[in-house]
């Protein structure tokens, strides 16, 4: 629901709308769309009386379903639209309508709550740029009525879900703009975005019968309009209030959603009244946090350039040149927001909402089509070399099918931008709480990953970013003492590498101290000594449950419940995480993710007569061992020595009870899988080649099969089991290795 500030859309009135509608048919898409926009504007620009607004809105909505083809019965939909317009006309003429009662009741409730001389619902007045009748009253007292609200009985349950979704989007946009505003308080575009967002939410919530939301949005909007009119400066106190308002609005929307899905009760989020008072009574003269937000100087932009110029594969961070003075003046204010100049977001792409379950099914089917086509292409009849024509046709079909697959997979991809933006807020809040100055830089936020992975990726990233700010980056004084710039930097960088997506989180803080970790690990009984462990192995210890080297447990982090959950979550989306760090310089976490969960790039292996698929991302390498590389440990465990690393051998045939499999590693292949302390060598008979497979669940009747993530349809139509590498390794490790048979020829 966009409000347009200019009235370039024709000043259509209801009569015109009704006439126009009669002349239009289902196929006049362009005109119907224009009519719909005009109706939307009529409703939300308050150019019809309040009582008529719900009807106009309804007309617009049903018209929308005709336009995008989702109307189940088009003639009925048309009738619906015209009767809605009629209702609206009647309502404007003053006859009592359902909408009237809704709005009146809403107005009453809010009128009781607000004793200010500016009633909430004189929306027309507030549209003007000038501050309305009431002068700036330093403190307006609001009467608070207690109790829980109810959704009005005749609340429009069709409109409400849309309203909630779109309002949430508005608030998210507002939040992004607010953060931008903190870095660049003069950014007019940002101020307007925020103002528009609150304004839109206010208008629509009002006549949908949600006075709390409307009242709140009104106060927030007022504050922002004072900033916009340069009446007050955008100070830190202002910024905090605004961000808290955004949070409160989110909470109110959640409450509305709960009410909609539940019993209609609208619980008021905590702190509502306090925040409302704070907003209403905001007086710049008494702003305790009245620190002026400096206009972030060119320095960060230059710094940004410095980083991208110096390809930092070796250094953790090149020290930004000469900007520390300017940035340091930012005192206790965290300078967040992209180090780059503000970009104008263009939402110009036409989009359409599609149900995700339909999309997923379609992608599934396309995946199967690819396999079915390759089964045809692999048929022996075509391999004889005599069927040239047929082979050509089949290959041609194959090309089309593969392109279809690329297209369908791309539909599931979403850019990481939204996730990164969420993190901007996290950095700001964490830095503020921990009294640190941190700059958050993101790069590659247009890199896309599968939408199913985005949600799961969010929490681990939040946790890791919090850690980086809370524990990684030092306080400004400590940094200065170590000849580092007072402004710490946390950098999030997403890019593609060898068919995977890599998300790197870098900080220029204290780095990980190997000795401290080793000491903690020994204390917790995780290892006995760090002999033979590389730095990477040691760092990976922090993923063990309960591990935390933080001296103080803050309420932000340090409880040690985090990193193991992070790793587990990442494994859910088949991700892998690597850590590099240098003490005093900083730490880098690199998360490797497959492009999509729909299709797995796997290596097909044979064990006995059975075939398994091992996800490529987990395979490091495969090789045939020499006798000298193999040895046994106390007659039970088997290990292989590869380039100085000792790896336990896992006999898949034994773990999975496969008969007729290769018994000696000398006759088979060893495949190195896993990370850190779980690297192992899997013994397989043979490698059958790489294959892209669609992962399927194994049928609900089986429940969870240990060691297996699912099944895949292989090229010949049979099912191959997809191995879960970490589970398989864990299975092997948790079982008593059976004694090595003494008749082995290569026993050391």
């Amino acid at each position: 629901m966009q409000t347009s500030d200019d009235s370039s859309v024709s000043s259509l009135n209801l009569d015109d709308a009704a006439t126009l509608l009669m002349q239009l048919e289902e196929t006049d898409t362009a005109d119907l769309t224009m009519l719909r926009e005009a109706l939307t504007d009529l409703a939300f620009e308050n150019r019809v009386p309040h009582s008529a607004q719900p009807f106009v809105a309804r007309a617009a909505r049903v018209l929308g379903t005709i336009v995008n083809g989702t109307a189940p019965d088009v003639p009925a939909a048309f009738a619906d639209v015209s009767s809605a317009i009629e209702d609206a006309m009647r309502a404007s003429e003053g006859s009592v309508s359902r909408a009237d009662r809704v709005v009146e009741r809403a107005a009453e409730t809010t009128a009781a709550a607000v004793t200010a001389s500016v009633p909430v619902f004189e929306l027309d007045q507030l549209d003007e740029l000038d501050e309305p009748a009431a002068p700036i009253v330093p403190k307006r007292s609001l009467q608070h009525d207690v109790g829980v609200d109810q959704l009005p009985d005749d609340a429009d349950r069709d409109l409400l879900p849309d309203f909630i979704t779109e309002s949430n989007e508005c608030v998210v946009n507002a939040e992004v703009a607010l953060l931008q505003l903190e870095a660049f308080p003069d950014d007019e575009e940002a101020i307007n975005t925020v103002f528009r967002a609150f304004h839109t939410v206010k208008g629509t919530s009002a006549f949908l019968g949600l006075p709390r939301i409307a009242a709140f949005a009104h106060e927030a909007e007022s504050l922002l309009s004072r900033v916009r009119d340069k009446e007050i400066a955008y100070t830190k106190g202002c910024a905090d209030l605004s961000l808290r308002s955004a949070d409160m609005l989110k909470a109110l929307l959640v409450s509305a959603e709960t009410a909609l899905n539940g019993n209609g009760k609208l619980p008021l989020p905590d702190g509502y009244h306090e925040l409302l008072d704070a907003l209403a009574g905001y007086d710049p003269a008494r702003d305790a946090d009245g620190v002026m937000l400096p206009v972030t100087p060119a320095a960060p932009a230059a710094t940004g350039a410095a980083w991208s110029a110096g390809a930092d594969s070796d250094d953790i961070f090149p020290v930004p040149t000469g900007s520390s003075a300017a940035a340091a003046s930012a005192a206790a204010v965290p300078a967040v927001g992209n180090g780059n100049k503000p970009r104008v977001e263009s939402n110009a792409d036409a989009t359409i909402r599609v149900r995700t379950d339909r999309l997923d099914r379609m992608i599934d089917m396309v995946g199967e089509l690819v396999i079915a086509q390759s089964i045809i292409a692999g048929d022996e009849l075509l391999g004889t070399g005599k069927q040239h024509d047929l082979l050509r046709k089949v290959t041609h079909a194959g090309k089309i099918v593969r392109e279809l697959q690329d297209l369908s997979m791309s539909m599931r991809m979403v850019p990481l931008r939204a996730t990164f933006q969420k993190l901007t807020r996290v950095v700001r809040d964490t830095a503020s709480k921990a009294s640190k100055t941190v700059q958050f830089v993101t790069e590659g936020d247009d890199v896309e990953i599968d939408r199913n992975m985005v949600d799961v990726l969010g929490d681990p990233l939040v946790h890791m970013v919090r850690n980086a700010v809370d524990h990684g980056v030092e306080g400004p004084d400590e940094r200065e003492a170590n000849s580092k710039p007072r402004l710490g930097v946390v950098r999030l960088h997403a890019y593609h590498a060898s068919g995977n997506v890599v998300v790197e989180l870098k900080d220029d803080g204290r780095g990980l101290h190997r000795d401290k970790i080793v000491k903690k690990a020994i204390e917790k009984g995780l290892i006995e000594s760090d002999k033979g462990m590389t730095d990477s192995d040691v760092f990976n210890l922090i993923f063990a449950p309960g591990f935390s080297t933080a001296e103080q447990i803050t309420d932000i982090s340090g409880r040690g419940v985090g990193m193991d959950v992070v790793r587990r979550n990442l494994e859910k989306i088949r991700g892998r995480i690597d850590i590099t760090s240098a003490p005093g310089k900083g730490t880098t976490f690199a998360i490797h993710l497959p492009l999509t969960l729909a299709v797995t790039d796997g290596m097909l292996v044979r064990v006995g007569e059975e075939r398994f698929v091992i996800p490529l991302t987990h395979i490091h390498m495969s090789f045939r061992p020499e006798p000298a590389m193999l040895s046994t440990v106390v007659g039970r465990g088997e290990v292989v020595l590869l380039r100085g690393e000792l790896l336990p051998i896992i006999r898949l045939h034994r773990l999975f009870d496969v008969t007729n499999a290769v018994q000696s590693p000398l006759d088979g292949l060893l495949m190195i899988v896993g990370d850190g302390d779980r690297r192992s060598a899997l013994l397989v008979d043979d490698l059958l080649g790489q294959q892209q497979v669609v992962a399927k669940t194994l049928g609900d009747g089986l429940g969870k099969v240990p060691g297996v993530t699912g099944g895949a349809i292989l090229g010949d139509g049979r099912v191959g089991l997809i191995l879960d590498v970490s589970e398989t390794v864990a299975l092997a490790q948790s079982h008593e290795p059976t004694p090595v048979r003494r008749d082995r020829k290569h026993a050391a």
């Binding site: 059975e610 999975f656 194994l698 049928g699 099969v705 049979r718 099912v719 089991l721």
Partner: protein, 167 residues
């Protein structure tokens, strides 16, 4: 080969009349409620799933969907006599699709309530809770399976077996 019976008092109250798909398994004739049968397919290679109880034969590819296959012989504690299994009946149970391997499919027959008796008790150790009852038609005895019970208990057993399983 012994028949398995125990009194099935719970299902005695609901009507068991209806159409049944009958099939042969290890010399005995069984019946499945036709409404629960999805399709009958010829035997296909079954991919074994490791670390599963013995009655789970594995999984197969059914037009792109992977479904598990249950071995009824094993479920009923009968011996595997190595005879050629010839087909798979795909049943749809509570939205879950599974297949059962049988020797030979016979026919679809309507059985009236009057022709269905409760399974007699044979004593402990012989599980007959899988049976809805015993139908008598055409001069022969057909063991009517309660497929929900057959397949549901396999899930519980899976969990138990998986927990106690060790290599």
């Amino acid at each position: 080969m012994s028949t398995h019976t125990e009194s099935v008092s719970a299902s005695a109250t609901q009507s068991r009349a209806g159409k049944y798909l009958t099939f042969f398994l290890a010399g005995e004739e069984y019946g499945l409620e036709i409404l629960k049968v999805s399709e009958i397919i010829g035997m296909q290679p079954i991919t074994r799933v490791p670390r599963m109880p013995e009655f789970v034969r594995g999984v197969i590819n059914l037009r792109g969907k992977v479904i598990p296959i249950t071995d009824l012989r094993s479920k009923f504690g009968m011996e595997q006599d190595g005879s050629e299994d010839s087909c798979i009946i795909v049943v749809q149970m509570r939205g879950i699709m599974t297949g059962v391997v049988v020797d030979r499919v016979s026919e679809v027959v309507a059985i009236a309530e009057a022709d269905i008796e409760d399974a007699p008790t044979f004593g402990a150790g012989i599980h007959t809770e899988f049976l809805l009852g015993i139908g008598k038609t055409g001069g022969r005895v057909k063991l009517l399976l309660d497929i929900d019970k057959v397949l549901a208990s396999s899930e519980i057993a899976t969990l138990e077996a998986a927990q106690s399983h060790d290599v």
